[in-house]
Amino acid sequence: MSRNPASSTSAQAPTRAAEIVREYGPFEGARNVAGVTFDGHHVWTAIGSKVVAFDPANGEVERSVECAADAGTAFDGTHLYQIAEARIDKIDPSTGAVVASIPAPGNGGDSGMAWAEGSLWVGQYRDRKIHQINPDTGAIIRTIESNQFVTGVTWVDGELWHGVWDGDESELRRIDAESGAVLERLEMPHGTGVSGLESDGAGMFYCGGGPSGKVRAVRRPPR
């Protein structure tokens, strides 16, 4: 099985252990954390049948929106985008109303989503891809190939990071948005899943913890 075309690259990329700063949750009613995003104040966490917003300073849940929430979550400054089944719902976070829906690029194989530069970036889990799509139509603008399962996507300071989760191994990795080449890797502890990834725009990543029902804060390496 040829599953690792760029493994030589990833082996050479600087690798260090992820520094987990804090854990939040598990959240009530969560079988599984499916996606995370950040609105400047709250961390929004998709947990199946709703998205809850907690304050990262104290971990307390302050808001919650009932909606189908199966995978990645993103925030464009006004609306939440939430992957449910094979579509992406655009949700008004104040009312929970779905204002629009577009097809998800992976046709249901989607996992992980980020908002950046007017586009949505959507991970396609087992197909090891990241799609840049038009948030109004769902049209695919371009596709980046990774060499690992993609379970979360985020942009911070012009860096594209994605979550990797394959069995017992998971990591956060920075890749070249053009070539897909791996530039940097943060290895999560053995047995920790990464489902959903978001940066707070500063020094922290928030990672969904899959069936643990937790969200973990991981320090972003200083530049």
Binding site: N32, A34, A71, A84, G108, S111, Y125, G167, D168, S195
Partner: protein, 406 residues
């Protein structure tokens, strides 16, 4: 986990197997195959479910050991429901170890319970009992606690410890109520009802009386001498004299016990034990020999004394004598009574115990099997016969526990 897998998993946990299938029907990646397999199993499509789960297990890479182990467990559960007991238990044991190593205690326990139930169905009670010891369902889903208690009850019933069985079933009932799985609750309720049905009859001084398992256990625990025509032997408290392989001697003992404290006339004994209406001197000589053999086998418990016209039982210590017979008459009832110990019997051993030809026994077994009252495993000379499980726990697929939230 991707979005459709998550959505299908949500549907499955809510009991909507068709809704789950609809979401992943066209996908062939390993998580989708696993979900399709579990949904198919819940719809009763066992062969298809096994095939899908096998493909899913193969498809998960070596790095995805957890997901792979869950598929193995789900596949084993389906095999059990199909009563396919031929597979090697090693893959299941390895899956349990892999699950334990990754902190998935619930699925590890489920794997081990499947192994115990398999041993119970194979009639390997000692191994099942050993495997059951040390299984701990504390803090795990109540459905697993219910299954653990059902297996405990089955083992207790097979060895006629009805008080143990009843308390295990009480715990199973409480757990099944917490689990709120209707099929599981129905099974526990049925098993409890079985405890209250007549399991044998007592013949004492010419009178017959139906007995429930608890009454049988009490009888076995008393100091009465029990001539047990269900399991073919003589029991006195903890002492068990098996006579299943000595059908003539057992027939003799039973005839004498049924008439106790009176005696039985020689020709009547000959007619019954040797099945002949024209006794001659050779039969009388043979009767003396058989009485002598029986006397030495049952020696410290009772004596067999010659009377003017025949023989009579004389228990030591003034004990009473009762005869226990199957709840209804006939060949089939006798077979079922023998199989009630839960062990695997060969046709020849059953024929020997009943004193019938193998052909007769085979015919009766075939009828019972067609009626679902006995099961067989193996083929030809290796074929063995078993009673169906007292508690039908295998109809409850606990597959949602094997569902991978990765």
């Amino acid at each position: 986990m991707d979005s459709l897998i998550a959505a299908a998993g949500r549907a499955l946990v809510a009991g909507d197997a068709l809704g789950a299938l609809k979401r992943v029907a066209l996908r062939d990646d390993p998580p989708a195959l696993a979900l399709r397999g579990i949904a198919m199993a819940q719809l009763g499509e066992y062969p298809r479910a096994r095939e899908l789960l096998r493909r899913a297990a193969r498809g998960f890479g070596t790095r995805e050991a957890l997901a792979r182990a869950r598929c193995v467990v789900a596949g084993a559960e389906v095999a059990l429901a199909m009563r396919d007991l031929g597979g090697s238990p090693r893959a299941l044991a390895e899956a349990a170890t892999a699950l334990d190593a990754r902190g998935d205690r619930a699925n590890a326990l489920q794997a081990r319970l499947i192994a115990v139930r398999r041993l119970l169905l194979l009639g390997r009670l000692d191994e099942a009992s050993a495997a059951l010891v040390g299984l701990d369902a504390k803090g795990l889903p109540p459905s697993l606690a219910a299954i653990t208690e059902l297996a405990t009850a089955e083992l207790a019933l097979r060895s006629l410890r009805t008080a143990d069985a009843r308390s295990a079933l009480d715990r199973a009932f409480a757990a099944a109520q917490r689990a709120a799985i209707p099929a599981l609750l129905a099974e526990v309720t049925e098993a409890r009802a079985a405890l209250d049905r007549a399991a044998a009859r007592r013949i004492h001084a010419g009178h017959e009386e139906p007995l429930r398992l608890e009454q049988i256990e009490a009888l076995m625990g008393s100091d009465v001498l029990v001539v047990d025509a269900c399991r073919r032997g003589l029991r006195a408290g903890d002492v068990w004299v098996p006579l299943a392989r000595r059908p003539i001697l057992f027939a003799l003992l039973r005839a004498l016990a049924e008439n106790w404290p009176g005696d039985v006339e020689r020709n009547a004994l000959i007619a019954r034990v040797f099945r002949t209406r024209q006794p001659d001197e050779t039969h009388r000589a043979r009767l003396r020999v058989e009485v002598g053999r029986l006397r030495s086998l049952v020696a410290p418990l009772l004596d067999i004394q010659a009377s003017a016209r025949g023989f009579t039982l004389v228990p030591t210590d003034d004990r009473g004598v009762v005869v226990l017979v199957p709840p209804i008459d006939g060949e089939q009832a006798s077979l079922l009574a023998l199989l009630a110990d839960g062990a695997a019997w060969s046709t020849s051993a059953l024929a020997l115990a009943l004193g019938d030809s193998q052909r007769t026994v085979q015919r009766a077994l075939a009828e019972l099997e067609a009626a679902g009252q006995v099961r067989s495993i193996g083929r030809a000379r290796a074929q063995r016969w078993l009673a169906p499980p007292l508690v039908g726990f295998t109809t409850t697929l606990l597959l949602p526990a094997a569902l991978p939230p990765e």
